[in-house]
Assembly symmetry: C2
């Protein structure tokens, strides 16, 4: 196993100006997994740790398996699968959550399969920070641990989230979440405060934050700050923004898969830039349709044509 | 004369979380002129067309002259100089106008000095579109005409603005203005509608819009769409955002000065990318202090160090 992903598995009901879909396959681990499987496409390279209820549609699991994702880490519990209902309006830069039913996520106690614990790359996609912490603890000595999160956990689980962020090598956060965590409107200053730990529970005295911080800016691209260098990159200019759900998960999943693919334990600036270019292009496909459909049907030719176009647009 | 600039000359009263300055030298032509003078620094290359009142401080005109800007096109009229009072809050991405006194701008009837009319490059910085149109008409056959504007003119002078935009080779607009003009939240679609003329008064039947459109996105950089190619570029990640006033004027003034410096009549993608990199870096300095002060005191060493750093950040 090269890359272990933990995060939610769910069914989403999503409304945008382009329509509504009900109970469509979604969740952070699912989106990140599908993205990672495009890069690490041989069997046995990407494993998902998540939980589903007894109502899970076997054909959805089949979709994931057909992408060579290892589902040994997905537990089935009594009850219903996690459900999220959300809406996007206007420029669609932020989801409005209409309803969340945690269901089986509420009682999920993740168990990383024994043979996955030595995997070098771990991505904790968005899920309760206590679950992320538990997975980090079960891993032996991963070379790179990445963490994503959401505004909800900043609001109600700041301490648990802070502790997870201190254990991460890389954090992926929306820019609004970085500003919120640091209570600082200037993104560069807010990122500095997260990285040096002063924006986290316990402050800088409790240790530094994630040395590599990627602020995801949606249609405005990204800003990544690491020790010694900074990368700024615009998004792919999309005219077909149908549904942004899963965009951030796809983005982070692709970055981690690219790093895992190159096999480096200490990725360089160039490794990251390449990974971020792939991630930006992958994310641009996800927003072009509802749920996981765009990634499931994406073919290599279409992907690589856009990758070329994006490199030209940014002058890379 | 290589580059003629028309736009406002004014005194600004600006409040941000970092303080307040009163009646500081400002105006679109002033900011654009100072920016252009950094690139085209020999005497007689940049001329300003604007208007001041009898209350203009001679030392402010001296500052502009000391940057080798030709002020022959600046008229002095009876009355007071244009004044603007504005405020920025939070992430400082938008100015809130508290007061505008047009004063002499209200009766300004621009006269382009005879010997400037053959100049190859014209930049109409923000000012009433009728004044922009008058200046365009007085020019003989400029190789490149660029136009900037503001939300006010979209609101109250859409027809006059549309007519100016149809005569422009390049338009610089804030992304919010592009969306507003096109009544379309997706920026790429909105830009297409401005470029093909369908978002302008009279619609696409009345002719196309500006073939080259630069959407200025403030701290999120820019998106430029031209016939056959697209350029996306992030902003320089600034931690010292003191006052964004003049940022857009500095940006556009620098682009036009770089194009004028290279002397090309049909700038290539590479010409634009280089100009946009310079413009982004120049703009990053303006936001680091109030009014024109940062550009007036900027030295070449500091500028070029940041230019190098920015090229690395974007991987150019």
């Amino acid at each position: 196993m090269d890359l272990v992903l933990v995060g939610s598995f769910g069914y989403d009901t999503i409304s945008t100006q382009h329509g509504t879909v009900e109970d469509t396959l979604g969740g952070a681990a699912v989106h990140a997994g599908l993205a990672a499987s495009r890069v690490l496409h041989q069997e046995g390279r990407v494993g998902l740790v998540s939980v589903v209820g007894q109502d899970v549609d076997p054909s959805d699991l089949e979709i994931l398996r057909s992408h060579n994702l290892d589902l040994t880490g997905i537990e089935t519990l009594e009850g219903l699968t996690f459900r999220w209902t959300g809406r996007y309006e206007g420029a669609m830069d932020q989801a409005e959550t209409l309803n969340t039913d945690l269901n089986v996520l509420q009682v999920f106690n993740p168990k990383v399969p024994e043979e996955w614990r030595s995997a070098p790359y771990l991505f904790c996609a968005n899920i309760h920070p206590a679950i992320q912490a538990s997975v980090i603890e079960q891993m032996e000595s991963p070379a790179l641990v990445a963490v994503d999160s959401m505004n909800l956990w900043i609001d109600i689980e700041r301490e648990a989230l802070s502790s997870v962020l201190r254990r991460a090598d890389i954090a992926f956060l929306n820019e609004a979440e970085v500003r919120m965590l640091a209570e600082e409107p200037n993104l560069v200053l807010a990122m500095r405060a997260v990285r040096d730990g002063s924006a986290l529970s316990g402050g800088a005295e409790a240790g530094r934050g994630p040395p590599i911080l990627v602020a995801k800016k949606g249609e405005h691209g990204l800003l990544m700050i690491a020790d010694g260098y900074t990368i700024a990159m615009p998004a792919y200019p999309s005219r077909d923004v149908i549904d942004p759900t899963g965009c951030g998960d796809t983005f982070a999943g692709t970055v981690m898969a690219c790093l895992a693919e190159s096999g480096v334990e200490n990725p360089t600036e160039k490794d990251f830039r390449d990974a971020l270019i792939h991630a930006t292009v992958a994310a641009s496909f996800v927003v072009g349709g509802f749920g996981t459909a765009p990634m499931v049907k994406l073919d290599r030719g279409t992907y690589h044509a856009r990758l070329d176009r994006f490199r030209r647009i940014i002058g890379a």
